[in-house]
Amino acid sequence: MTETISGHRGLEMDEPLIFELDSPGQSGVDLPAPPAVKSRLGAVKPRGAIGLPGLSEPEVVRHYTRLSRKNYAIDAGFYPLGSCTMKHNPRLNERMARLPGFADLHPLQPLATVQGALELIDTLADWLKSLTGMAAVAMTPAAGAHGEMCGMMAIRAAHDHHGGPPRKRVLVPESAHGTNPATAAALGFTVEAIPATEDGRVDLAALKAKLGFDVAAVMLTNPNTCGLFERDILAIAEAVHQAGAYLYCDGANFNAIVGRVRPADLGVDAMHINLHKTFSTPHGGGGPGSGPVVFSKALAPFVPLPQVVDDGGDFHLAEARDDDDGTALAYGRMKAFHGQIGMFVRALTYSLSHGADGLRQASADAVLSANYVLAKLKGDLNAPFEGPCMHEALFDDKSLKGTGVTTLDLAKALIDEGFHPMTVYFPLVVHGAMLIEPTESESKRAIDQFIATMKGLVARAKGGEAEWFHASPRLAPRRRLDETAAARKPVLKWVKA
């Protein structure tokens, strides 16, 4: 490593914490002096110094510009993070979301002044219902996990409403995303694992054996987190329904099948949709997302409040239970206000842009690209399950056995090669998992370059260059970071030296 005097390295700038850039008294915002008034704060004292640093506007712009340049992003490169659907985020979405007629609406304005916004919610709701074939949709959940919570609450509400034996058990496949068991557990259910078959699907017989009148729901992911379609889904749904339980589907992978099959036709009772995956709203380094939940007829009465109601083009918000609105059985709020409107604007913009035909083609391209990766790499890496896969291709680390190179090492080597690593060590059902999701928005050229690089790296691993891998990455803003030390003595905020 070439050391520099400044600590910068060409265009890779060293950047201190804002606290280390403090110029006391400095501010990047000019505000008029407050008019002199008699304070009305009551008994609570005005606070003393807070400890925030002061920076001018130019320093702030530079700080965040420099930080941004230390990030990987879809805009900058291939980001095949399985299960995360890092696809193109159209800029038209951003432009539309910033229209003052959407962005600058207060959630509690009189309804007459927000008819267009209610129409927006209703229109997107229609799209989601049409695309899934489902009877109803809850628009308020803020993300996928929140949607799971919403869906499982509705299931709980339905069981409560219908009476019958207490249903405390929820069955979840081992390959499920962590949010599934976490959600079920948070709601007080006992979570039980459903074993998988040799070919990476739910073991129908085993599932049937576990089903019973104490089971509230089965939570499946379909396509599942191995990137495979659950072939027995109709039989599964039938068995679940026969047991009086509901079939919850984790819809994080809906992007593989939009326009190709409707979850309603598969017997699904509730499914969240991650707008920040399938509907191209940006992930923003962690969020915000949006996780509307579609419901079958059976669960439709249990959609939470608030709901947008269309009275023939005149929209209102059902914020309290009301027979006229069909919300007599609705349960209460998932969060404040009416949902992630900013995300709805983006998702609707995307839907209108693609149209029904484009969405169907997008699914096909996502699946095609994943199968192409699977076909091209399965000679180099071990694919634990037969294809065709859906939108993502799963490999395990069998081929790396004995090389001293792990899945993690391969991921870190990819960083130097200019690629974001695939999802690693998830799903847990295979050893050293590598889950590759190219999405539909990558060119063949980009995918081919990724494939060639993977082949080269695997060859290198097999060629005995373990040491070289262990020292990767070398070309990123940071080398490998010590996560153990971070967890052992957590430093979770800046503290004045």
């Binding site: 490593m1 950047e15 914490l17 804002i18 006391p24 008294g25 990047g28 915002v29 505000l31 002199a36 008034v37 009305r40 008994a43 609570v44 807070i50 640093p53 965040y64 230390k70 990030n71 990987y72 805009d75 995360c84 229209l99 600058d104 207060h106 002044t113 927006l120 229109t123 993300a143 996990a145 929140h146 962590g178 949010t179 976490a182 379609f229 190709r260 598969l266 962690g286 969020g287 915000p288 349960y331 998932m334 969060k335 206000f337 009416h338 900013g342 609707l348 035909d357 484009g358 699977l374 960083i415 974001h420 080398r479 490998r480 970071l481 010590d482 030390a485 971070a486 957590p490 979770l492």
Partner: protein, 448 residues
Amino acid sequence: MRYLPLTEADRGAMLAEIGVASVDDLYKDVPAAARLAGPIAGLPGHRGELEVERALSAMAAKNVAAGSVPNFLGGGAYRHHVPATVDSMIQRGEFLTSYTPYQPEISQGTLQYLFEFQSQVALLTGMEVANASMYDGATACAEAVMMANRVTKRSRALLAGNVHPHYRDTTATLARFTGFEADAGPPDPSGRESLVDRIDETVSCVVVQTPDVFGHVHDLTALSAACKAKGALLIAVVTEAVSLGLLTPPGAMGADIVAAEGQSLGNPLNFGGPHLGLFAVREKLVRQMPGRLVGQTTDADGRRGWVLTLSTREQHIRREKATSNICTNSGLCALAFTIHLTLLGEAGFTRLAQLNHAKAVQLAEKLGDIHGVRLLNDSFFNEFTLRLPRRANKVVNKLAKRGILAGVPAPRLFPDTDGLSDLLVVAATECTSEADMDALCRGLGEVL
């Protein structure tokens, strides 16, 4: 189709490489009966930017943007002026189009700003540790109660009547389905409710908001002592983050957990979402807290860097034993928040808070002069409650027709509670001009 890079030629070559004849063959695991033969009926086909922009703009044009008229709405969402730098920075693709920072070597941008965000939130709230954000203030509040239940191993939460009704409702919903008790008193527009006497050894936590939903400012010191005495946690809710620039923070008044809404800094109103949940706790509670945490460490060359840490609390590691099911949070809203706060700095943030308070005081004085209008608050920050001589809903609707967004009628907040129909909650911020105030006074004078 502009978003799809594959050409027909590419598709053909890729299918050949895979060894199938058509894409339909790749869907062979989908039950044949359920497979769709073509685009879903009833939905339009693809459209160009110009057409889509027209369709969306037409919808947007049916709404009255708050900033286009005098507006006085608060009640948990506040219209502040966000410097242009904020939106410019958060639109950088490296921030906008990156995922959760799972690969720290190429995510230092996100990780560093989250670390700075955590530090700022800890300072603002007066707490020791803050996480990297929750969905919004309401879910943060509900998660705080769940956390208190876990920590205290009790299952009865006491909620003040003047906690924002959406926060109460969100918490009550969780309570209903997860089986704890959420004991909330009725809203108290006078702001005089006292919870101290109702705390006993069964109570896991007391949830109180300051400034509360009617604008009253509360000293939490006595409540905190009472909680401590009974082994309950004190959860402080803040819906107007700007108030933390002027008021003694909850941490300094003994709160154990702060659940707050951060929208006021950096984020537009967005008709209610996405907003930004802030979550801060005492250090000793950190391993029970929900959400992501960024921690400091060093890399193989000994350089300082940041990583996601203590993730053994989280769903992707601990699954059914996780402290929360949250995964995606409000990252980009947190970025907007931290940029805005960094721009403001100590001096700017303090002044902003003073300005908000001063504007509200001015407004309260002007409105207090109107015949028949009564100010209910002894104390307030930038929001207060008026008793009108008529139904607030009607007044607000009439004024909306005159191009004034007069505030939030209490019945809009509490649709299930009687006796609040003549109350109007009114907010002012640095954006509220004298002309706006005069317009409201004139308008009220006309419709009352």
